[in-house]
Amino acid sequence: MIDTLGLLSPLPGVSGQETPVREVILDLAARHADEASVDSMGNLFCLKKSGNNQGKRVMVCAHMDEVGLMVARIDSNGLLQCRAVGGIDPRVLMAQQVSVGKDGILGVIGLKPIHLSKPEERTKNPTIQDIFVDVGASSHEEALQSVHVGDVATFTTRFERVGDLVKGKAFDDRVGCAVLLELLKEEFPWDLHAVFTVQEEVGLRGAKVAAFRLDPDLCVVLEGTVCDDLPDKKDRGRTTRLGNGAVITSRDRSVVCDPRLVSTLMKVAEREGIPFQMKRPLTGGTDAGSAHLTGTGVPSCVVSTPCRYIHSPASLLNPRDVETVLRLLRASLEELYSAVGRRSSSSPPC
């Protein structure tokens, strides 16, 4: 599973341009899925059929897209002015290397050297307007040979081990994709619809149409989530902690998770001795925010892997946490179905 993460993490997949990620996932999923299809927005649906499904449908999803930059303007001197795609703190961009456009040409986000910067400049935070990507072009025309307005840029981070942890970009949510690919190898007593969604980072968009298409009995969202466990003098709580196991969400900014699903996840984890932690309420949003409001309402829940420094060039996660997420899903999916049961269809009354 960590090898799969290592394969997916470096791929460019800024929201709206997930094709490179989708191609690799489709290739990996093809061995285990009975059917695969792509919808008009680019969501990838992989169906694992059950012998005796009776129309029961479970949607498990993870988003393929990641935050990044989009080229908004090319200066006369060939520098690229960019805008954020998804939630990016401009501070994480400074002095980074990025891969730009379809051909993945290298770009450098420059920062004035310390020799030239004034002390007050060094304490000021940049805005996205202050940041330029330098692709080595010396004029507008030269830049146009390899870059266009609308091209996206991602970090060039290598995936590698750091002590017991692994480092890479886009763990939010390639780690969810890696777990979901693993789940496709399992057999379930209902149809498993593994959905790799698009455009989560720009407003939970792909999941909205994916859930409408499937109208499932329940939806489980797999995520890589915020982890803020660095030492802090104040006793104010953490969103999650690395190494403390699978993260169960009770509610975030986008969804109140179905209480039956949340209590089932907790109950199974306790019974099976699977380490888990509850995410701090009301932090972040997920595809469940879209899925649960679909049709007559789809019972939804979220299981995440804690990742330090998400939405930045280099995230860290603990492979043990990823294993825990997979164990929890294997152990609980059938009971999650029983907890909510078959939904009536969303067709209107006559």
Partner: protein
């Protein structure tokens, strides 16, 4: 209706935990319903056919949930850090007493502030009297609501969460008393309105109504030095023209105005500059639903002691009853 308003106002039911409120309403109306069910999000849907034949499905929504604060952390000494559930400002929280579902009461404390600053949520904590994390009787994820007892005086009702328990009381009363009319009534008591009108999204999709109305509160412009607004307590239910989430369908609005004048029911027109109701969600359901809203003027919305006028509420029932009899898009 007053006894129902009292019970609903005092009931515990923050967004996502509306069960207690739902049970009060279900008990109140179940005898009068042709069908009654709870959908997968927790909305209570009660149907009553007021006429045979081809009559429009009319969905009237009032939300059961109220604002509150959710525990995000219990520190070693047993103090609680919280985040708002719905639009609750730190200023309101800082001087209030709260109660959890299990009856545990909490006082709000504020860390020292520099100068005359207004507190922010991260400077606030709740104190249940616990002396350590170990003996704290509530945990992360538990939600507390204002602790206020209901009072009837001066022809007004004063209590917590008139937003929107007063709407629930009006809708339940209407549902019980409506016996004839030209509509197929779906009274929907929704969940999670305070989190973005969520319950109405899925319930309206399931019902697929021909016409929809929300019954909710609106603010007033009749208190000292307030933002001007052409709505006052006691001058009748307000017929919404627009708020930040919806522009009422002109035919629905005009029918409400016409009926109020015909039946001599006092009314006011409402243009609300901030805020939205379940009407926002219902209007954009499927191919679109002609939607309006009857608002109850309320002072101090989202504060502990909200005040509404009894006559406004009784008149709202009359106005809605008239609407069910003469909907703007019959059959």
């Amino acid at each position: 209706m007053e006894d129902l308003v009292r019970r609903l106002s005092e009931a515990y039911g923050p967004s996502g935990a509306e069960d207690g409120v739902r049970e009060i309403i279900r008990e109140e109306i179940k005898e009068h319903a042709d069908e009654i069910r709870v959908d997968s999000m927790g909305n209570l849907v009660a149907r009553k056919r007021l006429a045979d034949g081809k009559v429009p499905r009319i969905m009237i929504a009032a939300h059961m949930d109220e604002i509150g604060v959710i525990v995000t952390h219990v520190d070693e000494k047993g103090f609680l850090r919280v985040a708002p559930v719905g639009g609750l400002s730190a200023l309101f929280v800082s001087a209030c007493t709260f109660v959890f579902q299990n009856g545990i009461v909490a006082s709000a404390g504020v860390e020292p502030l520099a100068g005359n600053n207004v507190p922010s949520m991260d400077k606030l904590y709740l104190d249940v009297g616990a002396s350590s994390k170990g003996d704290c009787p509530v945990s992360v994820g538990d939600i507390a609501v204002y602790r206020v007892s209901f009072q009837s005086q001066c022809g007004r009702w004063i209590g917590k969460s008139m937003d929107d328990r007063i709407g629930c009381a009006i809708l339940a009363t209407l549902f019980k008393q409506a016996t004839q009319g030209n509509s197929d009534l779906y009274a929907v008591f929704t969940v999670q309105e305070e989190l973005g009108c969520r319950g109405a999204v899925t319930s309206a999709f399931g019902i697929d109504p021909h016409i929809a109305l929300a019954v909710d509160v609106t603010r007033t412009g009749d208190v000292p030095e307030c933002l001007p607004m052409n709505v006052s307590l006691g001058k009748g239910p307000a017929i919404k023209v627009k708020d930040s989430g919806m522009i009422a369908h002109p035919a629905v609005r005009e029918r409400l105005v016409h009926l109020a004048e015909e039946k001599n029911i006092p009314y006011q027109l409402e243009v609300l500059t901030g805020g939205a109701t379940d009407a926002m969600s219902m209007q954009l359901t499927r191919e679109g639903v002609p939607t309006g809203c009857v608002s109850i003027p309320s002072r101090y919305v989202h504060q502990p002691g909200q005040i509404v006028d009894c006559q406004d509420c009784l008149n709202a029932v009359k106005l809605l009853d008239a609407f069910l009899d003469k909907p703007p898009f019959p059959g």
